[in-house]
């Protein structure tokens, strides 16, 4: 099975969701080192938004990817489902999870700061955002079929 998590950038909320799903993040209380040590977290290239990033695989062989969708989460989820159906048929199971509803305002402001090259401010905002989002994401991840 393949699981694709979608968020605005593909490198923040969806990365946290991916590692919650993979079991690397367990609690809902995290510190700044834990968040920024997640592979791929905040390694953003705005030109690559939309391209799936491989986050890892769990023991049952489920591959987990993250994708950016800007503010088109709903539309991109539908498009991703359709493109996968076209390329893969029904050979392997997949799930596309849109985590846009879990994105906090801190993360949105962090992305704006990042675009303005305000790196330190962006990091602080991403951390504050991650703390808020992790509780909501834990609920979303629990609903995913294995």
């Amino acid at each position: 099975m393949k699981v694709f998590f979608i968020c605005r950038s593909g490198r923040h909320t969806s990365v946290i969701a991916a590692f919650l799903y993979l079991g690397r993040l367990t609690g809902t209380k995290v510190n700044i080192e834990e968040i920024f040590s997640l592979p791929g977290f905040d390694e953003i290239d705005f030109r690559e938004t939309g391209r799936p990033f491989f986050a890892g695989a769990n023991s049952s062989g489920t591959e987990v990817y993250t994708m950016g969708a800007l503010s088109y989460g709903n539309m991109l989820k539908r498009a991703a489902d359709e493109v996968i159906k076209l390329l893969n048929g029904n050979n392997t199971k997949w799930q596309v999870i849109d985590t846009s509803s879990c994105v906090s305002r801190w993360t949105v402001w962090g992305l704006r700061a990042k675009r303005l090259h305000l790196g330190v401010l962006a990091k602080v905002l991403f951390f504050l955002g991650a703390r808020k989002e992790i509780i909501r994401l834990a609920g979303v991840v629990r609903t995913i079929d294995n």
């Binding site: 393949k2 030109r47 690559e48 938004t49 939309g50 391209r51 799936p52 990817y65 994708m67 950016g68 969708a69 800007l70 088109y72 709903n74 539309m75 991109l76 989820k77 539908r78 498009a79 991703a80 359709e82 493109v83 996968i84 076209l86 390329l87 893969n88």
Partner: protein, 162 residues
Amino acid sequence: MIIIYHCYGGAHSSVTAAAVHLGWLPTDRIPGSDEIISIPYFDRPVTRDHGRLQFMGNDEFGNEIYVIGRRNAARVFENMAIGMAQVYGFCPRKLLLVNVMPYVNWKMVVGGFTSRKLGLTAIGRPVVTAGVKFAYWKIVSLVNRIKVCTASGNTGELTQIN
């Protein structure tokens, strides 16, 4: 090969390009309004259909032709589709994404918004049809370029076209 024509709503420019590709519209004259309106899916999809692939048909070379509306996320959609092809081991040379938005004029934008978003089809449809006629030769030229390149197999640098 899979060829996907994409534009904002997947209702006008991409559908016209697909119809030209499939030979449903002439390439030696500008079609009449009735011919344009009778294309399947022309001026039909609404907002909730954005992101849905619509199969239009197979061309004379056996290529599958699809259209999709992807709002203003052209690059995001193209990155996603190419990325998915890589994830699923699908040869990227067999997937061609054609952005038709550069050929969209203000009549198509205003007519499309009036017809699809505001639901005033009686007002919007004649305007968008006039816009399609205005952009017709540019769309035909784009489709001819795609057909020549796909027929010759010279699509190495054409995975994303606009």
